[in-house]
């Protein structure tokens, strides 16, 4: 396929997905959840929680990992990928909130946790963190917009307070990325033993960091192609090394836990759960083994494929936890209705489209160093944090 016909193809797909999503959304709000989803009293959470929430928030984890890498750990080499990561995270969180509006029975009460408190509830904590972190992401992204409209004073002021904002972002992310796992701590007797563990919050956090890296690689690859830039191969290669370590720590913890609690015995029980478990492990551990070898890190294509495998493994893991692990005890074989799928696809489609739009109208990828130095006029008072594209 030539580049133009590929573009037309994807444009058609996009509009078809949007049309299906609008019809599904109408049915959802007009006829209710019962008529438009395959959810039931026995299976109250479907892909809108398993995918849109669990995966959506996880896949946006690149935002906080890279903000920490560059602004706190001061590894400046990664600056070129901070902006796209922050943009992805910002869009990701906005879309998660939009998707939640479809899932909540009374979406117009989404603000209730602000005034009706229950600090014992993980959902309460996640709600607050997501709300605050979306604000943080907005502030972290704002300099890009200010730069675009040449509002240099405003940008400089904002960057003066960027350090506490970045720290708040990393803390909030740590809290809610792990708390998404804590959501499931309350159901020790309902989840399949292959997935229930008291370590869920830590495992969620580690895998979120891993997938944040993998998503950054994925994006760099695609934007390199879409915007005809070269891939930051050195950066991407460095990231694969970190990814290897993160996955290794993740599996060390998960493996030890399975051994100690003898959860592995569930592997010998009949049922499809164990195959889905093995699929998840293969997709997540595969890239770790692959990236261990030098040759694999030399080829951008292998790096790309390995990252995609890890992303798919991450998604399988979240879907297994949110959906598969409840099927045995509830006796329900949940499969989403077309409306549920259509709305999820609409969120993904919107994510890609808005990212593309923003990337071609805002300074996401190009370096604005010259402009920056002029604007700053070499003032010593400006914090170091306020360096190049990242902030």
């Amino acid at each position: 396929m030539s580049a133009t016909s590929r573009f037309h193809f994807w444009r058609t797909v996009f509009w078809l997905v949007m049309a299906a999503g609008v019809v599904a959304g109408f049915q959802r709000f007009y006829y209710g959840l019962g008529a438009s989803t395959n959810l039931s009293d026995r299976f109250p959470w479907g892909i809108w929680i398993g995918f849109d929430l669990l995966c959506g928030v996880g896949l946006a984890a690149g935002g906080f990992t890279l903000a920490a890498t560059v602004h706190l750990f001061n590894i400046k080499a990664y600056e070129p990928v901070v902006r796209p990561a922050i943009l992805t995270a910002f869009l990701g969180y906005l879309l998660v909130v939009v998707a939640l509006m479809f899932d909540l029975g009374r979406p117009y009460r989404i603000w209730h946790p602000l005034v009706m408190w229950n600090p014992r509830s993980v959902m309460f904590e996640v709600g607050w963190c997501v709300m605050l972190y979306t604000t943080v992401l907005f502030l972290e992204f704002l300099p890009v917009v200010l730069e675009r409209f040449k509002l240099h004073t405003a940008k400089r002021l904002l960057q003066g307070i960027m350090l506490p904002i970045v720290i708040a972002g990393v803390i909030l992310s740590t809290l809610h990325q792990s708390s998404l796992g804590s959501l499931y701590l309350i159901v020790p007797n309902r989840m399949h033993p292959l997935w229930y563990t008291p370590w869920l919050p830590v495992l969620f956090y580690l895998s979120a960091i891993g997938v944040g890296m993998a998503m950054t690689i994925f994006e760099s690859w695609h934007s390199a192609r879409a915007f005809k830039r070269h891939l930051e191969i050195k950066l991407v290669r460095g990231m694969t090394r970190v990814l290897v370590v993160v996955i290794a720590v993740y599996f060390a913890l998960r493996g030890m836990d399975m051994l100690q609690r003898k959860a592995y015995t569930a592997l010998f029980e009949p049922g499809y759960e164990r195959w889905l478990f093995l699929l998840e492990v293969a997709l997540m551990a595969g890239p770790m083994i692959l990236f261990w070898f030098d040759w694999s890190r030399k080829s951008p294509r292998t790096i790309y494929l390995g990252s995609v495998a890890f992303i798919l493994g991450f998604v399988t893991n979240r879907l297994n936890i949110g959906l598969t692990s409840f099927e045995r005890v509830t006796g329900v074989n949940y499969f989403p209705s077309w409306q549920e799928v259509a709305i999820t696809l609409m969120m993904i489609g919107l994510g890609f489209a808005i990212f593309r739009f923003a990337a071609s109208h805002l300074p996401i990828f190009e370096s604005h160093e010259e402009e920056e130095t002029q604007a700053r006029g070499g003032e010593p008072g400006v914090p170091v944090l306020a360096s190049t594209p990242g902030d």
Partner: protein, 254 residues
């Protein structure tokens, strides 16, 4: 004074009068079709289930430390001092976490409604008199469902079991399950056979969450200090070079 219910499966004849009284009291439709449904739902808050010759009742267990109330982000579910676990519909945003969390799969949703709410047994919390009994207890002519103080009901259950040891499986369900419930069950066979999950945790379920959630303030405070410190350390070199650079800058032009 905390209300509780004792259900004795060995005395239950499956007449379903409790179901009927419940539905009438809650203004829910009740007819043969509904009676035949052996599961709770948004239009049926308690259900009599048939297991061959035996029967069991399904209703909210009114846990002493309920999972549903602990997970609700807006505190729409609440364990009251009077015993019942009640629902505040004006708070609920419909996240359905309570349905996921309840090990007995009790909270039901109005799936067909455009603006749905949760429905569940509230142990007739509208009857506020201290000695009031629930509608289901009132309707039962066989003493299979009775209302009373939890410790009194435990005594009654023990007495019944002591008098006819051969009729009973020697255990009261609800004493230790999920840290204790306000609905107690005794029966002639192991509870698993009557649809009461027997392998549930013995500790209150909110403890499992709290084991992790309690660290939130620690992570926030220690994390912020640590990250601030890391920033300070990692940016030291730049500070040094900036100061040196500024000093050098002053000297060069002369």
């Amino acid at each position: 004074m905390a209300r509780a219910i004792l259900y004795d499966s060995t005395l239950c004849v499956g007449c379903r009068e409790c179901e009927k009284a419940c539905s009438e009291g809650k203004k829910l439709p009740y007819n043969e079709k509904v009676a035949a449904e052996e599961t709770v739902s948004s239009h049926k808050l308690t259900a009599v289930r048939t297991h061959g010759e035996r029967f069991s009742r399904k209703l909210c267990m009114h846990c002493l430390d309920p999972a549903c109330a602990s997970v609700c982000p807006v505190a729409a579910l609440e364990k009251t001092a009077a015993g019942p676990v009640v629902y505040h519909p004006e708070r609920c945003m419909g996240c359905r976490y309570c349905m996921v969390a309840c090990v007995y799969q009790v909270p039901s949703y109005q799936w067909e409604a455009r603006l749905p709410l949760i429905q569940k047994c509230d142990m007739c919390a509208d009857r506020t008199a201290p000695d009031a009994v629930t509608r289901c207890s009132e309707a039962c002519s066989f003493e299979a469902t009775i209302t009373g103080e939890r410790h009194e009901l435990v005594e009654i259950a023990r007495k019944r079991m002591a008098e006819k040891p051969n009729d009973y499986y020697p255990k009261i369900y609800g004493i230790e399950e999920v840290g204790g419930t306000s609905v107690l069950v005794i029966a002639g066979v192991p509870f698993e056979q009557l649809g009461y999950p027997s392998s549930v945790a013995k500790a209150a379920l909110p403890n499992y969450t709290w084991a992790a959630l309690q660290y939130v303030p620690d992570i926030a405070v220690v994390g912020a200090v640590l990250l601030g410190g890391i920033h300070w350390i990692t940016h030291r070199r730049e500070e040094v070079s900036r100061v040196e650079g500024a000093a050098a800058g002053r000297e060069v032009p002369q």
